[in-house]
Symmetry: C2
Subunit: 457 residues, 2 copies
């Protein structure tokens, strides 16, 4: 207290602060540098995207430097082109294309409507004109703003409606001062068209990021995460000590629980993308959402299973031991089925190999049920049996979920014309799709480590 | 086939199409009208918002009509003001304020930097200038675009960074043609400031929508939804027939499962809002996310419980009947605790009344456990017992979750200085907070139907 109030104390604190400043500043800088490095390493496409934006903006800024181009564009045109590039250029091709087409279409329609309103209001004379224009502006702004609340419209045309209001207002209001409205609307539309084209060309031609491909990989990665949990579950639950190193690996599934909105965003953008690689235009992106939802349903069951991991101490190991073998089998077979599906799905191959594992898990479930039927625990305390026995109900539900996922994946495979194949399973080593694929920009199919795929078609 | 290929058939189809067109068009129009009506009725604030946008745009368009204002603004200034209003005006005060402040600050900093680059590049002569300017534009665009990937920056300053790139590019590039850069930057900044102010005044003064209040109500409504499920669960599970009418009511909790991203968005916007009503500036919005996460954890358990509803037929009613009483008591007491919390939380009152219910549910859990200890089901088939018995484990976990939620709500209440109170519980009629509150724009505390609150402090 004294140090703060006395002038001497304040000076001391000031000195300390000044002395500490360089080291604090260094710490902060180092921290930011580390974060930046990690961000770049996690997904190198981020760095590439930043460079692409820099390039696109520099390209349109050329319009200012070269007299012939500048003269045909004019100052305002050049400005609109720069503005368009900055606002339209997005990380993925789908998002850039969606925004660009929205912008072009909205500018065209709003410009035409603005010119129409200009012509109409000119008829009403000098005095009536501002009133008529203001009325139109008000009505159009109200209607368009309300339209943005429709969920289906918001998902695809939100940006377009925003640009529509903006362009309509600018064109029709300027008509009050400027009689060259048609020319102005034409120039602006042309500038925006050029800005969109520059963005699209740079976005699509230099290391393009296809959001549809990201969605495809993310759906596969989610299955893989569930598979990781189920692979490890048996060992975690039926042994006394828990492996702390394994924790973050098997807890990966938690991100699946909250992946709904990001998947929906990706699917919305993906619908704008043209065909590329193995993805056609009109690829059935909606069906990815169905697979995603089923995977999430499965993740809820996995979450229920996970809560049993935390309270396994309630049950003595010998009681748990009695159901160990079939439970482990169910869990491992489900894990294999999911991994199989994730891997073949990722490589866009249609196969029924996962069904073998699902059948095995169903057989294990029957064994488990008949084991429970025998009066296995006659002398044991029911209170100790219940936690162990109740592990079986989420496990059995997971089989059903995996079955549904397999069906949906198969349907999707048919709709998207995945290749048909015969698969021979070799080994079951877990490998992380996520690390390799989601952060990988290219379209090439990943090497499949644990199965040999013979394409039969 | 024939009808399509023969000219006569084609004509017939054409005629049919033309005849059917008016009725089809009418159907479509009616459908859209119904949807529009529903959208407006679901949340009347949407209509108000649309009118507010129309008003704000019409207001700034006045700059064009009145000569004195127009002369001081210029055509470009008036255009920037309109553009700002359209782009900045959002549904809630928080979002508008966040975007507006981002835009003002970004324009100020980018304008200053642009003028600085102009001065620096002027020194390098006519030939060096474009190269220097282009280099700066490239570097700034790359760095700023990369900064947008930092999650913390993205959450609050994404729009600001976008405007920063845009303004910097426009100012520094135009400096190549126009030597009045300082004046231009000043004019543009002034126009944007006016645009932001008009948006903010209209947004805040006419029926303001406070997103923080929406978040507050949504967190309470989520607790209420879980409460609804738990209230009905006992009757649903322990009776033979299921009440189909009840289905959508008790399934309300499913929306809680996927509410994470919308809560995060709301919390981010809420942090921009000034104090209003009972909410101070710097209200602990982050703690709402904690309560939201705990509620979601509880919803995952409820999801596990829900899956038992679907497979209750596996267990004969008499077996389920043996644990009916304590199970129902746990579920109902948890439901009451959640409803109590939702209601007092909504009214910003701090009370320990929910704890009474949590204690009761814990007591019921003890009863349930001791019931399971007695060899109640000696002669029954274990396979039939297990599904019924395993209902107990999510139920017991829910008690823990509710306890955690109560703790988090209490902490939040302390941090946000909720009023302390004594509560007398009168009746337990379920009532839907969601319908009344979320879609209700005012800040007045809702009438609490099932408890009398005596404010002590």
């Amino acid at each position: 207290m004294e140090a703060v109030t006395s002038p001497h104390g304040a000076t001391t604190i000031g000195c300390q602060w000044v002395k500490a400043f360089p080291s604090k500043f260094c710490d902060k800088t180092m921290k930011i540098a580390r974060k930046t490095k990690k961000l770049g390493q996690d997904d190198p496409r981020r760095m590439v995207h930043s460079l692409k934006v820099g390039l696109a903006v520099s390209l349109v800024s050329l319009f200012y430097y070269f007299d012939p181009i500048y003269d045909s564009f004019g100052q305002e045109g050049a400005m609109w082109a720069v503005l368009t590039v900055v606002l339209v250029f997005e990380f993925s091709v789908g998002a850039t294309l969606g925004k660009g087409l929205n912008r072009i279409l909205a500018t065209l329609v709003a410009g035409a409507l603005g010119v129409g309103v200009h012509c109409l209001s000119t008829l009403s004379g000098r005095k009536g004109k501002p009133i008529l224009v203001a009325t139109f502006v008000f009505i159009i702004a109200v209607i368009t703003t309300f339209m943005r609340f429709f969920p289906t419209v918001k998902a695809r045309y939100d940006y377009g409606l925003l640009i529509f209001i903006m362009t309509f207002c600018l064109v029709s209001i300027s008509s009050y001062r400027d009689d060259q409205v048609l020319e102005m609307a034409h120039d602006r539309f042309f500038a925006i068209l050029v800005g969109c084209c520059v963005s699209l060309i740079v976005c699509m031609c230099l290391c393009p990021v296809w959001i549809g491909e990201d969605l495809h990989k993310s759906v596969a990665a989610n299955m893989e995460k569930l598979s990781n949990f189920l692979q490890a579950f048996g060992d975690e639950y039926f042994t006394e000590e828990s492996n702390e190193n394994n924790k973050s690996y098997i807890q990966g599934y938690t991100s699946v629980l909250t992946s709904k909105s990001s998947e929906e965003t990706m699917a919305n953008f993906a619908r704008w993308e043209p065909g590329h690689g193995l993805f056609r235009y009109r690829h059935p992106w909606k069906m990815y959402l169905k697979v995603g939802n089923l995977t999430r349903d499965c993740a809820y069951k996995v979450e229920a299973l996970n809560s049993h991991l935390n309270c396994k101490i309630q049950t003595p190991a010998e009681i748990r031991g009695k159901i160990e073998e079939p439970c482990k089998r169910v869990s491992v077979e489900c894990s294999r089925a999911l991994r199989e599906m994730a891997s073949t799905f990722l490589n866009m191959v249609r196969t029924s190999s996962a069904n073998t594992h699902i059948e095995s898990s169903k057989k294990a479930a029957e064994d488990l049920k008949s084991l429970l039927k025998t009066n296995l625990w006659e002398e044991a305390d029911l209170l100790q049996i219940i936690p162990a026995a109740s592990v079986t109900s989420p496990l059995l539900e997971i089989i059903e979920c995996v079955d549904k996922i397999a069906e949906a994946v198969n349907e999707l495979g048919k709709a998207a014309s995945f290749r048909q194949s015969n698969v021979t399973v070799l080994s079951e080593q877990p490998h992380s799709i996520h690390q390799e694929s989601i952060q990988h920009g290219s379209n090439t199919a990943l090497p499949v480590q644990h199965c040999v795929i013979t394409v039969a078609e």
